[in-house]
Each structure stands twice: as structure tokens, then as C-alpha cells.
């Protein structure tokens, strides 16, 4: 949009906000391209706007028609005399550009293009979509779509259903943004049945104009919205998502973003020779970026709404400690397992609470957490247990489990939960397990917006998601660092290199120039040179044949380890060259790299790659030859700072090994952080680096430091 790219940032934001206000709270709507046939999208859009109770003026634009839905019809949008804030274009794709241009001429700055037939149908559609973008730029139009369901605003003062969703959803505090239009209708139906309300509901389709980023920022400022839900199929700019979401999910007006990201890019499936390349598929990187952005990533609609409802309808818990009240032992244990698995704590109750419970519960009841009120419990017993547990200072949140036994007065218990909920300052969730028998009780809970889950495991997951949101807000945001000031020595090496794998000696030199811990080394052309250098640096040493044709050295027999004296080096040198000649006859050997043998330590991998959607990405994990087998790796967008590096280390399972597992000496974590930060800067500074593996980086105990044992750097062409 031209108006958003020319002026100062604040002015751009104001223009966009005004345009998005025009979409959600318009003063006058033109529906452009309406037909007179009920049951078609163009007709139903107009019908839904009128039927939703929208109080503003509505103008059908329908050439050749006199009235539609009892409203006078116009031939062209420019024929409307009154001002119009929003145009909803429903013409077939082939004439949408004409309609959009007329909207621009009419001065309409907010447009929803419902019509399909654009980039989703191939090259002809792509060109049509580009044309729409040009028109939007010419007239400063904020466009939602094309190829979308439309937008809904449940604000009672607006009441707008500018979509082809059958029914207006209930009003609520949750906003839903979706790239898929069809999914929206299913979501609306699902949410209606569960009494879940929405503030805004937007399908943004091909996002040729307004994207998810602008919508998220708009909803951040929307006082009707507490939680933002996002369904995304394609992420075109991962860095912008990170930047926008970090702003929205933290600070004074923090709102959580919960997202489903489906779909995989073809690039993600590209075969890659490096460990980082093969492990850093789009989805894995997406996962890491969402986490760093403060976005709760979920896998299903069920989970999306489970967690959203928990956040939207319950107070934020002060901590992770969960108390469980149940009338069935088995589900209580299942819930305990799930809670622990999800990172919640199931603490011991205070002695005073246990004493209180002993007074009100039968002798056979379990007064420890989970509190089992026993199968014959009726509402009074549940009430007593719930009140005691919620008052416990060791408890931050409560899960109430019910199984429908013949003595269980389900509706009365549901009523009791509602009463307690009205006074509670701690979050409550319920799992009334079953279907038909518990239906009316569940309905009662949902009426009071008490989150209900069919399975206690789902409740635990939702509570854990909310706990994560709390931790995220309290945690420190990473500040990317660029400690290397002189990039010239490394730049000089890369400038002279051809596309493909950088020879090992040059790769090590480049990393050494960025302060990575590369041991003393020299590329030698004769056995005498190798022996002389080994004498200089001391024994034991390692020999490695360097050739562009050899990527995996052990397979090509291109290395000799732990050589203890000059004689060993001399013999190994000749044997190495002979072995390489046999194993890889086409190998052009640049020389033999001699370096000191690195003392044993933990083997970790530090890698990087350039991702089409995210740019430079860093990887960290358990290293060595079994990297792919264990897949214990994590990712972050480069560059990073020491906080980000610490979080990467903490995310992998191997972090327990590095911290000193079962009495072993802890690794030098500060040294790993330094390497991650410097490597992050390296891959950011040099666009030609497409893949990079330092594997293993050997990390010694304590402050003994660490050393690069092997490296691979793949470069792309200079010009591309």
C-alpha cells in the first residue's frame, strides 16, 4: 500500500488503523457484484450483512438489478452518492480489478475481496493478484483477501457479519485470524456449540494486501480482544512475525497469540548434505521462532480453543502448582501424569488443608493431591474439597475431575463449581468425563465460561500453555549481539572461494577470524612439513586430507587421529594419501591439515543455514555422528545474544549432560554461548553461507574451554 510505505512510521500506522477500522466498524458498506440468487456467495454476503443487525447503510452494487434484499441496487459503486467506508467485492475474479479501481475512485480505503481465482489458481491468477496490489498502491486501499471468507465484528454497537459464514458467532474476547476461509465456517460452528464467543473473526485468504502482521497489531490495540488465535498455512516473513509477536505478547498491553501453523514449503523437503540442512526443515525452525516470538503453537483446533478459553475466561495463575479434585482414582493419576509431563507441578497440600479435608471427607478418601473424594461423592463433598484446596497456599490452580457414577449428582456439582468459580481468584478447569450423562453439567459450566475438557490430559495441556505464557512475559527478551568488529579477514577468505563446500583449512580460518575456538593447524604439502609443524605444536596431533571432493572424511579414510610422535606422523601422512586415492580416486587433495588433538569432552553441534522464509537460522544440539538419529537439536533466528544462546542450550535434552549429569563435571556453558553468538553473527554477515556445520564442537569440563573439531561450510554463487 503506497500510503504505508512512503510516510513516517507513525503516519503509516494511523492510515492503516483507520483503514482497518473501516473494515471492522464501517460507516456504510457497498457489496460490489451482488447477484439476485439466494444460496450464492455474492447474494449471501449481502444477506448476512443485513441479517446480522448491522445498523449502517448498505448499498448493493448489482448492474441491471433494481433492488436486492429490499435495498435499492446501484449499477456501479461510483454511482452511490453517500460516503462509503467499506466495499466487499464479490464479483468473479476477471472483473475484480475494475471493481477495485472504481472503489479507489469513490474514495473507499477499506476493501474485502471475497472472490477466488487469484494466486491459488496458478500463473494467470498470480498476475491478476499483482494487478490488485498495484491498484491498492495507487489508491491507498487496505485490502483483505482475495480468496477469503470475509470479516465479522461482534461488537454490539457494530454487529457486522461481512462474510459467507451462516451464523453470527456469540460475542466474546477471542479474536480469530485464519488464512483458510473454509476452516472458519467449521470453527464458527464448533465454537457456537461450545458457547465460545469472538470479538473479531477474520479470514485473510491470499493476504495480498493486509497481512496477518497488520491484523495482529490491530487486535493488539483492540479493547474488545484479550486473546489472538491464528491459523496459518504459509509464513512468508518469519522475522516480521518474530518482531510483531514479541511486541504483542509482552509488556503493558500483552495479549497471547495461539497459533496453528500447517503446511510445508517445498524448500523444506530439499535434500541437504549437512546435518543442519537435513534437520532444519521449515517446521522445526517455525517451532523455534514461534517460541522465541512468545506464540503458543498448538497442533489442533481442539487444543487451540482449549488453551484460548483457559486464558480468556480464567485469571492468570501465580505459578505452576496444580491441585486435582476427583471422584475417580484412575483419572486422578492420569491427570497427575499429564500435569507433570506438561511441566506443571502437583504439590503436596499444606498440613492445614489436609487436616481440613480429613474433617469433611470420609476415611477412605485420599486427602493428598490428587484429592480423591471417592465415587459416591455428591455436591456437598465436592464443594468442601474444592474450597479447601483453592484456599491452600501451595496451590495456584485447580482441576476438577468427575466421572458419572450412579450416586453422582452431576448438575448439582456443576452448579457448585460455578458458585466457587464466582468467588475464586485462582483458575479452575474441569473434566467431566463421558458424553451423554455429563452433557447438561458441561453445558452449565460452559454457560459460566468455566473451561471444560473431555479429557483431563487436555486440561493439563491448556493449563500448561497458560503457565508458559506467564513465564514468557516474566522472562528476559534476547538482545542480539555482534561482538566481531572486523569482518574483513573472514570476508577476504569467502570472496575468493567458489560456490560449494569451502575447503576445510579455509573454513577453519574463516571461523577462527570470528573468534571461534579453532586449534593450531597448518595445511602441509609434504610429510616433512607435517612433522615439523607437529613438533612445533606438540603431540598428539591429527592429520586430515583436504579436498573439495571429500565431504565426509571418515568414509573416505581421510583422517588419522592421535598420532603421538614424528614417526607416527610420517607413516600416517603417506598412508592417508594412499587410502584417499583408493577410496575417492577423483579427489584433488589440496594438502594435509595438521592440528593438535583435542582432549575429550562433550560433543555438541553448532550449525547454521539460510532459510527461504526465515533467513539465517542457528542450530544447536547433541553432536557427533548420531545427530540425525537422536534429533536432539533446537533452532533460533540469527543473530542471537547470550540470553538466546542460553535458551537454546536449555531447550535440548543434552543440556542435562552439559550441566553435569550424575556427578559428571559440567561443561563450559559460557564457552558454548560465545560460539553460538559468534557463529550467529558469521552466518548473518555473509549471505553466501547457505549451510554450516561445526560438528563436533568439543566442550571440555569447567573452564577448560572448547574447540572446533570439524567444520563444513557451503557457499552459494557470489552473484545470486
Amino acid at each position: 500500500m503506497a500510503t504505508m510505505t512512503n510516510g513516517p512510521a507513525k503516519e503509516q500506522t494511523t492510515v492503516l488503523t483507520r483503514s482497518l477500522d473501516g473494515i471492522f466498524s464501517p460507516n456504510g458498506i457497498a457489496v460490489v457484484g451482488v447477484t439476485a440468487t439466494p444460496g450464492t456467495v455474492p447474494y449471501d454476503i449481502l444477506h448476512n450483512i443485513v441479517a446480522s443487525g448491522y445498523q449502517g447503510r448498505v448499498y448493493p452494487v448489482a448492474p441491471g438489478k433494481r433492488t436486492i434484499c429490499d435495498l435499492p441496487a446501484y449499477r456501479y459503486v461510483v454511482d452511490i452518492d453517500e460516503p462509503v467506508d467499506l466495499a466487499v467485492i464479490v464479483f468473479p475474479a476477471e472483473v475484480v480489478d475494475r471493481a477495485l479501481r472504481q472503489c479507489g475512485e469513490k474514495g473507499i480505503r477499506s476493501v474485502i475481496v471475497i472472490s477466488a481465482g487469484f494466486r491459488e489458481v496458478g500463473p494467470a491468477g498470480v498476475e491478476r493478484e499483482e494487478q490488485l496490489k498495484r491498484i491498492c498502491a495507487d489508491y491507498g486501499i487496505a485490502m483483505i483477501g482475495p480468496n477469503c471468507l470475509g470479516a465479522i465484528n461482534t461488537d454490539p454497537s457494530i454487529q457486522l457479519n461481512a462474510s459467507f459464514a451462516r451464523k453470527m458467532p456469540h460475542a466474546g474476547r477471542i479474536a480469530f485470524l485464519s488464512q483458510s476461509g473454509a476452516l472458519c465456517t467449521a470453527v464458527l460452528d464448533y465454537a457456537r456449540e461450545k458457547e465460545i464467543g469472538f470479538s473479531k473473526f477474520i479470514s485473510f485468504g491470499n493476504k495480498a494486501g493486509v497481512t496477518e502482521f497488520e491484523l495482529i497489531e490491530y487486535l493488539h490495540d483492540d479493547d474488545q480482544t484479550d486473546v489472538i488465535l491464528l491459523y496459518l498455512e504459509e509464513l512468508r516473513d518469519g522475522r516480521r512475525l518474530l518482531e510483531v509477536a514479541q511486541r504483542v505478547t509482552r509488556g503493558k498491553n500483552a495479549k497471547p497469540i495461539l497459533a496453528i501453523k500447517s503446511g510445508r514449503t517445498p524448500q523444506g523437503a530439499d535434500a541437504a548434505a549437512s546435518h543442519t540442512g537435513s534437520l532444519a526443515g521449515e517446521d522445526a525452525v517455525c517451532d523455534a521462532v514461534f517460541r522465541e516470538a512468545g506464540i503458543v503453537r498448538v497442533d489442533s483446533l481442539e487444543e487451540l480453543f482449549n488453551s484460548a478459553v483457559m486464558y480468556a475466561y480464567q485469571p492468570m495463575p501465580a505459578g505452576d502448582r496444580l491441585a486435582i479434585v476427583t471422584n475417580a482414582g484412575g483419572p486422578g493419576v492420569m491427570a497427575t501424569d499429564a500435569a507433570i509431563r506438561e511441566g506443571l507441578a502437583v504439590p503436596r497440600l499444606a498440613e492445614s488443608t489436609i487436616a481440613e479435608l480429613k474433617k469433611t471427607l470420609p476415611a477412605t478418601a485420599n486427602t493428598k493431591n490428587p484429592v480423591d473424594v471417592i465415587g459416591d461423592a455428591r455436591a456437598d463433598r465436592y464443594m468442601a474439597a474444592m474450597e479447601s484446596v483453592l484456599a491452600d497456599p501451595n496451590v495456584d490452580q485447580m482441576l476438577v475431575i468427575l466421572t458419572p457414577q450412579s450416586m453422582t449428582d452431576i448438575d448439582a456439582i456443576a452448579e457448585g463449581v460455578c458458585q466457587i468459580h464466582q468467588k475464586a481468584v485462582k483458575p479452575i478447569a474441569c473434566a467431566f468425563m463421558g458424553a451423554a450423562d455429563v452433557a447438561s453439567g458441561i453445558h452449565r459450566l460452559q454457560k459460566d465460561h468455566i473451561p471444560h475438557y473431555i479429557l483431563p490430559e487436555w486440561a493439563c495441556r491448556a493449563m500448561a500453555d497458560v503457565s508458559w505464557i506467564r513465564q514468557w512475559r516474566a522472562g528476559k527478551l534476547d538482545q542480539p549481539e555482534r561482538p566481531v568488529e572486523d569482518r574483513q579477514p573472514a570476508a577476504a577468505i569467502l570472496e575468493q572461494a567458489r560456490a560449494g563446500y569451502l575447503p576445510e583449512d579455509l573454513a577453519l580460518d574463516a571461523l577462527a577470524a570470528y573468534g571461534l575456538p579453532v586449534p593450531p593447524r597448518r595445511l602441509c604439502q609434504t610429510a616433512d612439513q607435517a612433522v615439523a609443524f607437529a613438533d612445533e605444536i606438540g603431540y598428539p596431533v591429527v592429520l586430515r586430507a583436504v579436498s573439495p571432493q571429500i565431504v565426509h572424511k571418515s568414509e573416505a579414510k581421510a583422517l588419522a587421529l592421535n598420532l603421538a610422535c614424528a614417526d607416527d606422523v610420517r607413516k600416517a601422512y603417506d598412508r592417508l594419501l594412499a587410502d584417499v586415492a583408493r577410496a575417492v580416486p577423483e579427489a584433488e587433495v589440496r594438502g594435509v591439515l595438521v592440528r593438535s588433538m583435542i582432549p575429550p569432552g562433550h560433543e555438541v553441534i553448532v550449525g547454521a543455514k539460510r532459510d527461504p522464509a526465515f533467513g539465517p537460522v542457528l542450530m544447536f544440539g547433541l553432536g557427533g555422528i548420531h545427530v540425525e538419529l537422536f534429533g536432539d537439536v533446537t533452532f533460533a533466528l540469527a543473530p542471537i545474544g547470550r540470553t538466546g544462546a542460553a535458551r537454546m542450550i536449555g531447550r535440548v535434552k543434552a543440556s542435562r549432560l552439559l550441566e553435569g549429569h550424575r556427578g559428571s563435571e559440567p561443561a563450559d556453558l559460557e564457552a558454548i554461548k560465545t560460539s553460538l553468538v559468534r557463529l550467529g553473527q558469521f552466518v548473518t554477515d555473509f549471505e553466501r553461507v547457505v549451510e554450516l556445520d561445526v560438528n563436533p564442537l568439543i566442550v571440555g569440563p569447567g573452564a577448560m574451554g572448547h574447540a572446533v573439531a570439524d567444520v563444513r561450510i557451503r557457499l552459494k554463487e557470489e552473484s545470486s
Binding site: T35, T37, T40, A62, P63, G64, K65, F91, V95, A99
Partner: protein, 80 residues
Amino acid sequence: MTRDEIEKRVRQVICRVLDVDDDMIEPESHFVFDLGAESTQSVELVAAFEGEFDIEMDEDAALNVKTVGDAVDFISGYVK
């Protein structure tokens, strides 16, 4: 049949099928954007032109005709 005669009858068919006034129709009028033809009406128009001129047109090609003037030219190719 002259082009003018074909155009006159084409306009009559359009007025009848799309229920629009003759003064709305120009040679450059787009069936969808200017005259409000729905997708089913486009099919009806093709059938009505075939009946009016007693011709049989290539349906795919006929449905690709976008304006009144182009329709006159297209039908002229079939009418002796």
C-alpha cells in the same frame, strides 16, 4: 445478414435474458461488470443466441466472449 442487424438482435436477446434496458448496452459493455450477468445467465445467453440465429457455437469459446461488441463479432462468424 448485416452486422447492424446482428447487433440489433444481439441487444434484444441480452435485454430479454439479463432483464436490462437497451440503453444500458454499449458495444464495450462487459457482460458481468456492466450488465450483471451471473454465471448461469452466461450459459443462458449462449443458448439464446444459438436459438435466435439458428446456429451452433463452440460453447467454451462463446463463454470466453466478454463484451457485447465481441459477441456481435463472434456470432457474425457463424451467421451466413
